[in-house]
Assembly symmetry: C2
Homo-oligomer: 355 residues x 2
């Protein structure tokens, strides 16, 4: 099987970890007899420097013509003083919107070896296996008007806007995942305050009729922020709108004990998907061979499973990562007792060998 | 000194815990020679039952004519099937708006005796002393339009609206608190996405010039949701808009190990304030002498300090609560090793005796 993969390393540690994705794909290709054609393009700060815009047309064109997209991370102090409409993050928001990447998936597992580095007690952090499904192209992030008003510009407005269709497709996606997992779906909203949440809740209840095998409950976002800490083990699949999902998925990412281990997927209706680690570009450690490439490598595994339908291949990567951890290797960001600390390059090599 | 206090017990355990507030005030009155005139009125579900509306005019009039207001909790399954515009929570939202209670204060301390019941590791939970200042009468909670649109009502919109003045007054309030505490203010926003957050950030930076003794930093709401778990000890005062504050303050409330211990204050520009526990109406244990009255009693202490300027009196209550905990007494919701579990009545008596 031959597939074209767009790799957008981005900024900071992006380039270093992207090389982990490339190595993992090479190893998978060899072992399973696939050919992955990798093409690189800039996004974020790197694209501002090269093309004067965080999402150049050429990058977008490459992404559209690929079978899947891997992204490193964007942003850094170099571009922090730019007006917000021109900043690296805009590249991320724009590619999501342009490609219709409406479904952001964030699996949050417990890594037994890392339980000690969670801020939560081990008995709470050790038993987690949830998937957060975040709507990614609607809500307050894109609603218009988003502007200053009034004679002196002394009123400011942002708009939380959803169409029924936008809510339906993400809710259906979440039901499908719940069905293939433990059959439990928690829909998070603020229906005691927001009209958009009331419509969201209605749609969840409507769609529930099509999934009798899935148990649904509704939770207010403030209660969910509590439960994610006090009993994260209770969740299977969580579905929520864009901004709530941004906050809750980052909160939940702390449970595992390391941001450096968490992949994410953003899917469109066509099946085209963008895969990226949850962590940022970490400019403070860029170029020092200290970055943890595992979230990027695990994002590559998700890509194989979700966009290329190569389940076995994806699982081979996941097992390789698990085996490296079990053998006591880790990067400096992970606090594993009695472990051997290795650099980015070495970690990539260790995983690749095991694929 | 003679003061009129409105007590709005509300629903569920509201009535039981309100009696804790009344007893504490009686004890303070005796010891310090003040007269507190307590007047009771309904709000929430109780008011729906008695008056057909969650905030009767008579309740509002009483609140307006009082020196301060104590509220128990609202809501319960009995009223859950009402349309949301008529539900108990509407009483809460309406009284906030009607009285202009724009500043919600949530102190989050560590209780040494309770550190074990936090989901966080003791070394993380044990060192917390933050104050969350949440804007309470603006943003998505009250912005218009908040409606369905389009031919088939298939578009839904909520509006995040702030005026410069609304942002300024809450920011100034937060700076004042930071100045009187450890001098550190963290402003939380989503300025990489929202125009309202960019205006918020500008105003914080403007006001910072008036408070050279306060160190200010800005944090995105998703990062704040992480830091509240991974290093809650880093925060002194946090200031943020209404919805972010709702989510983050509930998340932070888990740190202490018990919702049953947390008071809150909601202040207006005139100084009139409403004081209530952070926990809800807990209908499942209502009337069983199991509710923890300490959050209500500590809310009464906040009232004495913030609205009646009786600092010593408020501290006398806080010391009494601390002493009861130190002597090993607790209600069933608290998990304290080797403690004596007592009911609501007995807990109220224990605290009152010590005032
Ligand atoms: C960079 C930012 C705009 C982005 C978001 O809020 O969506 C990030 O926090 C994320 O979650 O991918
Ligand atoms: C009941 C609800 C409307 C309310 C809010 O969101 O403000 C509650 O969660 C709170 O924080 O007091």
């Amino acid at each position: 099987m031959k597939k074209k993969i767009a790799i957008l390393p981005g900024d900071g540690i992006g380039r270093e970890i992207a090389s982990g994705a490339a190595s993992a794909l090479e190893a998978v290709g060899k072992r399973f007899g696939h050919e992955f054609e990798l093409e690189y393009a800039n996004i974020g700060g790197a694209a501002i420097d090269s093309d004067g815009t965080p999402l150049p047309d050429s990058t977008l064109a490459l992404a559209k013509s690929s079978d899947a997209i891997l992204l490193g991370a964007v942003g850094g102090p170099k571009w922090d003083s730019l007006p917000s409409a021109e900043r690296p993050e805009r590249g991320l928001l724009a590619i999501r919107k342009e490609l219709g990447l409406f479904a952001n998936l964030r699996p949050i597992p417990s890594f037994q070896k890392l339980v000690q580095s969670s801020p939560l007690k081990p008995e709470i952090a050790g038993n987690v296996n949830m998937l957060i499904v975040r709507e990614l192209t609607g809500g307050l992030y894109f609603g218009k008007p988003s502007e200053r008003r009034g004679e002196n510009n002394d009123v400011v407005v942002d708009t939380l806007l959803y169409t029924r269709e936008e809510i339906e497709r993400i809710v259906v996606k979440a039901f499908e995942f719940a069905k293939s997992r433990d059959g439990r779906l928690t829909s998070v909203d603020k229906a005691n305050v927001l009209e958009s949440s009331r419509m969201w809740r209605e749609i969840v209840n409507e769609k529930a009729a099509d999934y009798p095998e899935v148990t649904v409950d509704h939770m207010y976002v403030d209660a969910a922020a509590m439960k994610l800490i006090s009993s994260p083990g209770q969740f299977d699949v969580i579905v929520t709108e864009n901004l709530f999902g941004d906050i809750l998925s980052d909160e939940a990412s702390m449970i595992t004990g390391s941001l450096g281990m968490l992949p994410s997927a953003s899917l469109s209706e066509s099946g085209l998907g963008l895969y990226e680690p949850v962590h940022g570009s970490a400019p403070d450690i860029a170029g020092q061979n200290k970055a943890n490439p595992l979230a990027m490598i695990l994002s590559t595994a998700l890509m194989l499973k979700y966009s290329l339908h190569l389940r076995e291949e994806g699982e081979a990567i996941e097992r390789a990562v698990q085996s490296v951890l079990n053998d006591g290797f880790c990067t400096p960001d992970l606090q594993m007792e009695g472990s051997t600390i290795v650099g980015t390059d070495q970690m990539i090599k260790l995983v690749t060998e095991r694929i």
